[in-house]
């Protein structure tokens, strides 16, 4: 490997990238815009609720309370299913009503209602759900009745440390920020092929390995520096910074590999943007799932960015440590290797 050659190629790629007004603009404005979006978002929680429910017999006033309170219930067939949904953060809260709640209320007994909360459910949600359950009893009997409530948090308890919407959004913003560099890199490579400058490079003593190393370095450093800078400014590195930085680095490698794949498919800058936008839409789905819990279920695990977003979310918002995210890190590395290898192979074929 010739480091002088790699350095010359990286300097050239950075110069060409920032001399393309469009990419220079979206890189600089992108980071500013995302910072502005982050800071104008409310720092407190304000959410509408969809609650998981397991009730063998559903009391008739449930529909009434949904209309009055604007709440939604999602029914589950078993206690286990409901627990899993809460653990997966599909809902922030779940309610289990005993099978004979109606009879117990009618006979003056004190029924036991079990509530489940996800690890990052805010205090307000917990208060709302407890109040709602008590109101159910009132609606049924016309007077306040004693109800035993058992509340359980599935996962680490974040009581007093809830996740504001902007911190959920932070993840989406940082992913979008580094993903745009994937599109920029793909366009840069497409331009190199389209203008045939790649052929001029390939008749010099530079090796193809040096060329790919330079492109990889350029893409990864551009994405990683922006991502790390953004996270540092918005406080995203306050907890588990080493995990987050490693995840951002792996994410930058993944998006650079994806940039290679896009460049191998694209014929020019326009088609590389088309493919790039398609990739961005798919890759951002898991981040949407973090912003809006319940929108992405198990199928999201097939998207490579699922593991990236999960690691960053767990580490930055829930302060999860190495012991709980190492499997996701491992899977992310495997996806990275596949994507980068595939990108280099596909692009190598195109160069030939």
């Amino acid at each position: 490997m010739n480091f002088g050659v790699i350095r010359a190629l990286v300097v050239k790629d950075f110069a060409l990238f920032f001399r393309n007004r469009f990419y220079a603009l979206i890189t600089v404005l992108g980071i500013i815009t995302y910072l502005v979006i982050y800071f104008v978002m409310p720092s407190s929680v304000d959410e509408e609720l969809e609650i998981g429910l397991y009730a063998p017999v559903i009391p008739p006033f449930f529909e009434l309370i949904q209309q009055e309170e604007g709440l939604k219930f999602h029914e589950y067939n078993s206690d286990q299913d409901l627990r899993q949904a809460i653990a997966d953060r599909i809902h922030e809260a779940g309610v289990i009503l005993p099978e004979d709640i109606m009879e117990q209320l009618a006979s003056g007994q004190i029924p036991l209602v079990t509530l489940y909360f996800s690890t990052d459910a805010p205090d307000e949600i917990k208060d709302i759900v407890e109040t709602m359950v008590k109101e159910l009893a009132y609606l049924q009997t016309g007077q306040f009745l004693a109800i035993n409530i058992s509340a359980e948090i599935l996962g680490p308890d974040l009581l007093g440390d809830q996740i504001p919407i902007r911190d959920r959004m932070r993840l989406m913003l940082v992913i979008m920020l580094i993903m745009f560099e994937m599109m920029g890199l793909a366009s840069l490579i497409s331009e190199e092929v389209e203008q045939d400058t790649i052929r001029a490079l390939l008749v010099t003593p530079m090796s193809v390995r040096d060329l790919f190393t330079a492109k990889l370095l350029m893409g990864v450093s551009l994405a990683f520096i922006q991502g790390a800078l953004f996270m540092a400014i918005v406080g995203g590195l306050n907890s588990q910074p080493s995990i987050i930085l490693i995840a951002l680095l792996l994410g930058s490698i993944m998006f650079t590999g994806s940039g290679f794949l896009i460049a191998s498919l694209a014929k020019d800058m326009l088609t590389s943007m088309g493919w790039g936008i398609t990739a961005i839409l798919i890759y951002s789905i898991p981040a949407f799932g973090i912003m809006f819990p319940g929108t992405v279920t198990d199928w999201g695990r097939f998207i490579p960015t699922y593991y990236l977003t999960n690691i960053i979310h767990q580490a930055s918002n829930i302060n999860t440590g190495w012991s709980e995210i190492w499997v996701d890190l491992l899977i992310l590395m495997v996806f990275n290797m596949l994507i980068v290898w595939g990108g280099i192979m596909a692009l190598g074929r195109k160069f030939r």
Binding site: A15, L16, R19, D196, T197, V203, T204, P205
Partner: protein, 288 residues
């Protein structure tokens, strides 16, 4: 000239089932200029790609400066310069930046881009971005880029195509200077006049094969005919053309008749051009 700079030994390439280069053999001596001529699709570009390490031959060998290209790509590429037909410069970089980049890729120490640019007539515009250059300026910069490493072998693909006479002449002078420096030059061109003027030998390629390879003069003697062309005034005052073949037993008599019996207005000798010879050999023109 002696020692060989380029040896093509049964060089072959095919794209799927299409045979592009068909077991061609030739050599170019060190310091020689070889004009490589042929119509579009003849296999010239594929040959150049194999010689410069861009394509691996399907059969045969390309040997440059004693090195098998397929096995020593980087070593060979450090000794050659390539000027492509289509401009492939970094448009958003200046001429200086383009040249300095390639100097680093070739690991050239103490490179002076300014003097090279002055040599190709681009003084004063060194720091302008290439996107603001005219076609002629870009072509001159392409030639300059191929000279960055002072290559021992220079591959030039249509270096003067579409240029004005001044730019063309400037590039031809650079080619001759490079030959004087000792470089071997492999000149691919459609311009027969240029090939005739610059080349020590020319090769005619068609349908993947080399059909003729010799000095231009030898080819003309072998395939062409010499003639005298005259314009004579008729009795009614109009101009008429006369042509006298110089290589027949009747030449002297025909010449005598011409001057005795007709009023000669203009007269000049004409020898076969490379284009005439190419058509004679291949049955088709270069642009077909």
């Amino acid at each position: 000239m002696g020692e060989e700079a380029i040896i093509a030994d049964r060089l072959t390439y095919f794209y799927n089932n299409l045979l592009a280069v068909d077991h061609i053999c030739f050599h170019v001596a060190k310091g020689e200029i070889l004009g490589f001529l042929g119509p579009n699709g003849a296999g010239k570009t594929t040959t150049v790609k194999m010689l410069t390490g861009q394509l691996k031959p399907k059969d045969g060998k390309a040997i440059l400066l004693g090195l098998d290209v397929a096995e020593n790509i980087e070593r060979v590429q450090s000794k050659i310069g390539v000027c492509f037909e289509e401009t492939n410069l970094y448009q958003r970089m200046s001429a200086i930046e383009n040249l300095n980049l390639f100097a680093r890729l070739f690991n050239v120490k103490s490179f002076n881009a300014y003097s090279l640019l002055a040599r190709v007539g681009l003084s004063g515009r060194e720091k302008d971005r290439v996107e603001n250059y005219s076609k002629g300026m870009r072509q001159r910069l392409m030639v300059a880029r191929s000279l960055v490493s002072k290559p021992q072998i220079l591959f030039l693909d249509e270096p003067t195509a579409g240029l004005d006479p001044t730019s063309s002449e400037a590039i031809r002078n650079i080619i001759l200077e490079e030959r004087k420096r000792g470089a071997t030059i492999f000149l691919t061109t459609h311009d027969m006049m240029e090939a005739d003027k610059l080349s020590d030998r020319v090769a005619f390629m068609n349908q993947g094969k080399i059909l003729a390879l010799d000095k231009p003069l030898n080819l003309k003697q072998k395939y062409g005919k010499r003639a005298l062309k005259a314009k004579v005034a008729s009795k009614k005052g109009a101009l008429e053309s006369r042509e006298i073949d110089l290589d027949t037993p009747q030449t002297a008599e025909e010449l005598q008749n011409l001057f005795q019996n007709e009023k000669v207005v203009t007269i000049h000798s004409e020898e076969a051009t490379l284009e005439d010879i190419f058509i004679k050999i291949t049955g088709r023109g270069l642009t077909e």
